[in-house]
């Protein structure tokens, strides 16, 4: 455990020290590159008045709702596509075309249609999460060995038994791989939506800090976003470790 985190424990202070020395001796003004110390004090102030927690909570809500919607929809559609070649033929051109549109480009549209509240961010988030989860669901379900279907059929297994006893566990590794990508992207989705127009959230905080030349505040918001993304990634990794113990360990 200690061995695993040792490089990070050593590199982090080195990074902070380098950053500190850069701001101290380079002559770059604080409103362009704030020192680590000023970011820290800004962080404490934002926590003190509760604004950081409030905006983090808003963004986190958007992310989680967006993930929930995007993953649910992608899993259902992905499963249906994996099971039906004709459905896949009918839908895949649209799905691929939809990926050619960067979500960032249609984010302003979505905000106009759905308002500047939480809903538009949830939808943007869900859209960005949808595709990687969809693709991995299709690939995962398709990769279920046909021999296992034969086995289940020879035992007169029901549709539901095949789903829960074969398809879900067999496709889980690939599915969780998609979820890992989706979880990281969901943070981007929420922020993109907030940057277009929002009254609250970390994206809003970022923009306010930018307008007011409160650069330390921008840094605080960015670091909070990084922490959120890492936490989500960590949760998926935890799920992988918990449910995929049967797989050969791979350190990817």
């Amino acid at each position: 455990m200690i061995k695993r985190f040792l490089p990070v424990l050593l590199s982090l202070p080195a990074f902070l020290l380098g950053w500190h020395l850069l701001t101290r001796y380079s002559g770059i003004p604080n409103f362009i590159l704030p020192s680590p110390l000023s970011v820290w004090t800004r962080f404490l102030r934002a926590v003190g008045d509760g604004s950081l927690q409030y905006h983090t909570w808003i963004t986190l809500t958007e992310i989680l709702l967006g993930l929930l919607a995007g993953v649910t929809f992608a899993t259902v559609v992905g499963y249906l596509l994996a099971k039906s070649r004709s459905l896949e033929k009918a839908l895949s051109p649209y799905l691929v075309a939809s990926q050619a549109i960067p979500v960032i480009a249609i984010a302003p549209l979505l905000v106009i249609w759905l308002g500047d509240g939480i809903l538009s961010k949830v939808v943007i988030c869900a859209l960005i999460v949808f595709f990687p989860v969809l693709v991995n669901t299709v690939v995962g379900v398709r990769a279920v060995p046909t021999a296992l279907y034969d086995l289940m059929h020879s035992l007169h297994a029901t549709r539901a038994q095949i789903l829960w006893k074969v398809e879900v566990p067999a496709s889980l590794p690939v599915f969780l791989g998609g979820l890992r990508i989706g979880a990281t992207l969901s943070v981007i989705g929420a922020i993109v939506g907030e940057l277009v127009d929002a009254e609250e959230g970390l994206g809003f905080l970022l923009q306010v800090g930018d307008f007011q030349y409160d650069t330390p505040m921008v840094f605080v918001a960015v670091f909070t976003l990084i922490a959120l993304a890492l936490a989500l990634y960590g949760i998926v990794r935890f799920l992988e470790n918990k449910f995929l113990k049967w797989q050969e360990r791979s350190n990817v």
Partner: protein, 248 residues
């Protein structure tokens, strides 16, 4: 055999559709299977052996003809495939209890039966191992245990030892022979090995090249229980010769 057959196969024909009029895998195959009989279906690659087994397992609808079971419409089938076909996320014990789970049996009795099966196939101590930690022979023993646990009416084996090395394969013959005698099952096994079929079977059905038809239905009158040494007797050699000629 004086008992009535438990399974009759009548005029079975299977055609797989393709561009030039369809691929005839089986043509007009008929035979009876009697209770507790061990039948080997022997034939070259592409003789429709596996197709025949899949039709009997209900995995494939024949183009014409029928498979009729004497006692019930949907008999319990235990199947062993060329590959062990274990679920890699389940332990040995959990893999073996699968047929009982599907049937809806309670966990407690399922585990008790699974332990019996594990003893039968000689895998004590590996109950909680994962398939990735098993050798090919061990994995195939798990597959056999799984095929037997729900007390099937019919055991269907599709070249179960084809992927094993020669020494392990021969050890598995003795094992299977012992298990068959202990459990008194009706077995149909597909193979392309003459000595495998002679060592194990009461009857050998020889299939021809595609389209598969039954060329020979030979009774194996070798005494049981059969030991390794039986393969070096003159009678074994004579029967092997006969099968060899039938396949050519």
């Amino acid at each position: 055999m004086t008992q009535p057959p438990i399974l009759t196969v009548r005029n079975l024909t299977t055609v797989f559709p393709d561009e030039n009029g369809g691929l005839h895998a089986l043509r007009d195959v008929s035979f009876d299977v009697h209770p507790r009989e061990f039948i080997c279906v022997l034939g070259p690659s592409g003789s429709g052996k596996t197709t025949l087994l899949r039709v009997m397992a209900g995995l494939l609808q024949p183009t014409s003809g029928q498979v009729t079971f004497a006692r019930k419409q949907h008999p319990r089938i235990g199947m062993v495939f060329q590959q062990a076909t274990l679920m890699p996320w389940r332990t040995v014990l959990q893999n073996i209890t699968l047929p009982l789970e599907i049937r809806g049996d309670g966990t407690h009795s399922a585990h008790r039966k699974a332990r019996e099966m594990i003893e039968l196939v000689g895998l004590q101590g590996f109950e909680h191992s994962l398939p990735r930690d098993l050798s090919g022979g061990m994995a195939q023993r798990v597959a056999i245990a799984r095929a037997l646990i729900h007390d099937p009416d019919l055991l269907l084996l599709d070249e179960p030892f084809g992927s094993l090395d020669a020494l392990t394969r021969e050890r598995m013959w003795t094992e299977l022979s012992r298990i068959w005698q202990a459990r008194q099952k009706t077995v149909i096994m597909v193979t392309h090995s003459i000595s495998e079929s002679l060592f194990l079977a009461d009857r050998v059905l020889v299939l021809t090249q595609r389209p598969g038809t039954i060329k020979m239905d030979m009774r194996v009158d070798l005494p049981r229980p059969r030991e390794e040494a039986i393969r070096f007797t003159a009678h074994f050699g004579k029967l092997a010769r006969k099968l060899r000629d039938a396949i050519e």
